[in-house]
Symmetry: C3
Subunit: 370 residues, 3 copies
């Protein structure tokens, strides 16, 4: 069975419709046919060295969706991520991307994600061109296509981190671009670096990505985070999933069917305490108020149903962890923060390292445009 | 005959009303009487070296209007621009402006122009202080004059790139400033780096700036781009101009009279196909919807009248080019993009190089304020 | 008598509620109990060297309020500030904070203050992550606490410069943070770097901080600037203060009583000319229109009452100075600018040096988080 709609894998390759133009552009040597969807980037060992030789045939082209990675690709990315944890200011490692320019092109504000990418770039020596609210981008207002915008920006930057309100924007941008596009969230669509940092955190905290159990709690219907996470975890063996959600926010059928079709053992459970006592990872999420606009009482009911407190912690295994994509409102009590099992701020920090790795892998082996 | 109103040349020099203050400011040595309007910066060969000796009497002071440059000055700027194309990350050339600080002070958003300047500065090693929406600048809201704002900002930066909604703002800022001001567009007024990049692109693409013909197409009444371009091209010999515009958007009389007065051969033509077959440069522009607010049907008619398509290309000479200041809406069909004669994305890239040259020339030979 | 409310000294120390979490965070070694309010940072000589040894027990932790500094601490900060005036691009001094990352987290726009801090960081080699309008910060909109935001941002930056619309925000942030928080204004609360730059300017311009007289003019009721300045100047000996304010804007009783209680000689005077002839420092401020929203005629009356003109200058001593926190509207006539005693633009520049010093002192001796 194919991956569920919305996170569907596409086998289309990218017809290089700009081939002739590319060859008339004197600066950027034409690159080979670009294959970015559903095809695992064949990441070679030794990618670390960005002045690497030409045998480095396939650096990471774009980061557009969680489904573009298989377990092997993730393993390589996480290996590089682990190295990024060790980058220290003042060392050569902190100058790996010296001279590279990143444009954070945000059509809707997301300060947290933007700062995370910008800090990642800064820690590797790169330069940042920042755009907090490209929605006011006068060109867009005048009717310019995203493709034209990208083809203009690519003269100014070596990599674009794109946040857009419209699903599919990152893929559209990647099709037009001759530089890497990293999707930092496109509306209800994808936010792949979030999925990667979640999986990396699990590996980093509990030491493995198979043979464990995870409870996904909260708004499972609307959160792209948990939907993507469930999908990516299906790449690993023997991951037992519990879904704990208010009735209005149940995990949707597409994901449930998909998981079943690939043999993942999942279960919907009402009792948070019971799940807490079983799992290695308790992944809490925020009930999204904006989904209950005309039903405030339903929101209050849903919101109050599953709260992680010190009582929940008391149920949990000694080496289990609590995760949360943040921001949090009331769904994890602040008293929980002091417990070493509260992993969510470490998870945020891991986002930094994952994004450093993605930037490095995207820029590795590329000739800068200048 | 004088240059037309709106792009009029002014012979006023800048009375240094701040002389006594300047001398009481311990850090910045008082500079000579500043002459920035209508007077060609006497650019010396050897400007490249910013630690150049004091014989470097006249670096570029400010960039406020197209009319401040004569053909000799443009030749020098374009020579430096050509060198900028060769600046590569990791070389000494990429550190020419190390330590210099640029403030992009944008009172209205123009992401494209801002990023172009910021990328230019980054590629030369400088640092960027960015302001996307200085209109919310609390000081302006409180009634501070632009002059006071500039005198404050000049403590923080070595050069200011100013975008303002009011014509004449750049000149006003330059009068107050002890550091270079680069006009990145002041309302309906000037946008000199756009004019420079247009002329540079013609030279770079067809190899010369005299003895050629150009068709200016689209909104010739309202576009400051084509008005400035027509003016600057009048500095060169034997440039034949064709104006192709819907009736509502004809080139205005001030420019037409000015061109005649300085002996430029121009002609208004209805038939785009015919012009396309004659010219070396076809410069298309967007019909500005905002000019037709109460006449939507007139807009639709004007907008649909002159579209560059592959049919137009078929009429054109083999070594002619299509230019466009971007953003484009429908006035050039996307199929045209693949043709090597479609020069508009290369034109955008040239904007980067021209801005690198302007920053370098403005900062060359200056003592940084720190 | 205690310091007046609003600028009250608090003796509370910071219970390190996150101790257990800190110790589970592998990267940042747990730091000692943090004491930041009302306790003078014991600044050691030799702080200049940020790779300084561990005997450097007490770098500046946070900058949250004017009252955290005593005269000894200010003396040290001003000594470092004086050194900052000599930092030149291209020298080692300009690389003191290489590798350090500053996040300017501004919940309300204040371009002037933001650019001043960003320029300060740039001049010391650090990197800037900028946020012009964190009010749109999607996380805040979703109900995230400031504490959670800070704990996330601290993974990305080594120091946060916070501007917030709510009094007390900086202290709240500092309590949560494991990195230094510098208050760049929290609503009607504190703006300590402004107070420091004012005092530094007096010392720099008239050569001493005791045995002088100062006239505070304008909106003394609502301006946090003059309130803080009066407080800080009370730390020095024999500073005579004159308050010159329209009736609606008199210095409030809390400050007046506080000054009396610590033996400061102050006087309310009606006649600006008389005060001008007496003082060494004439500190003019803007009447804040926003305080007179429903009484426009009262505003006009208050605003017109005390204007500094060349006539005022004629009254003043030859070596006295005019200060103003800027922005200015009409309360100092532009003709005054040309007089060497007009110190307000030099005062703005001093803000840069003070902020360089604060950044250096906050980051000195810290292990960067990366």
């Amino acid at each position: 069975m194919p991956a569920p709609a919305g996170i569907a894998m596409r086998s289309a390759t990218c017809p290089d419709r700009r081939a002739s133009q590319a060859s008339s552009c004197r600066r950027l040597p034409p690159r080979g046919r670009r294959v970015y969807a559903s095809v695992t980037p064949t990441l070679q060992p030794g990618l670390e060295n960005r002045t690497a030789p030409s045998w480095l045939a396939e650096p990471l082209k774009h980061v557009v969706k969680s489904q573009q990675f298989n377990a092997e690709a993730l393993e390589h990315i996480f290996k590089v991520t682990r190295e990024m944890e060790e980058v220290r200011a003042g060392t050569d490692a902190a100058h790996q991307l010296d001279g590279a320019i990143m444009s954070t092109l945000f059509y809707e504000p997301s300060t947290r994600t933007r700062l995370s990418f910008e800090s990642a770039m800064a820690r590797l020596g790169g330069t940042i061109l920042t755009t907090e609210s490209a929605a006011e981008f006068s060109s867009a207002a005048k009717g310019e296509t995203l493709e034209d915008t990208i083809r203009t920006i690519e003269a100014y930057a070596d990599v674009v981190v794109l946040r857009h309100f419209q699903a599919g924007s990152a893929e559209k941008a990647a099709r037009a671009a001759s530089i890497p596009i990293i999707n930092a969230g496109d509306g209800p669509g994808q936010h792949p670096s979030q999925a990667l940092l979640d999986v990396y955190t699990i590996q980093r905290e509990i030491g493995r990505l198979d043979n464990f159990s995870v409870g996904l709690v909260g708004d499972l219907a609307n959160g792209r985070t948990v939907r993507s996470l469930a999908y990516v975890l299906s790449l690993y063996s023997n991951v037992k999933m519990y879904f704990v959600a208010p009735n209005e926010c149940r995990m949707r059928e597409d994901i449930r069917e998909y998981l079943s079709s690939v043999g993942v053992d999942w279960e919907e459970v009402d009792d948070l305490a019971k799940v807490a006592s079983e799992v290695d990872v308790l992944y809490q999420t925020r009930i999204q108020k904006e989904r209950f606009q005309d039903r405030p009482e339903d929101y209050d009911k849903a919101k109050g149903k599953y709260i992680v407190t010190t009582d929940t912690l008391a149920q949990m295994k000694k080496d289990a962890i609590v995760m949360h994509p943040l921001p949090r409102v009331d769904e994890i009590h602040p008293e929980v923060d002091a417990d070493p099992r509260a992993a969510y701020f470490r998870q945020a920090r891991n986002g930094l390292y994952v994004r450093m790795a993605l930037l490095k892998l995207c820029l590795d082996g590329r000739t800068l445009s200048h």
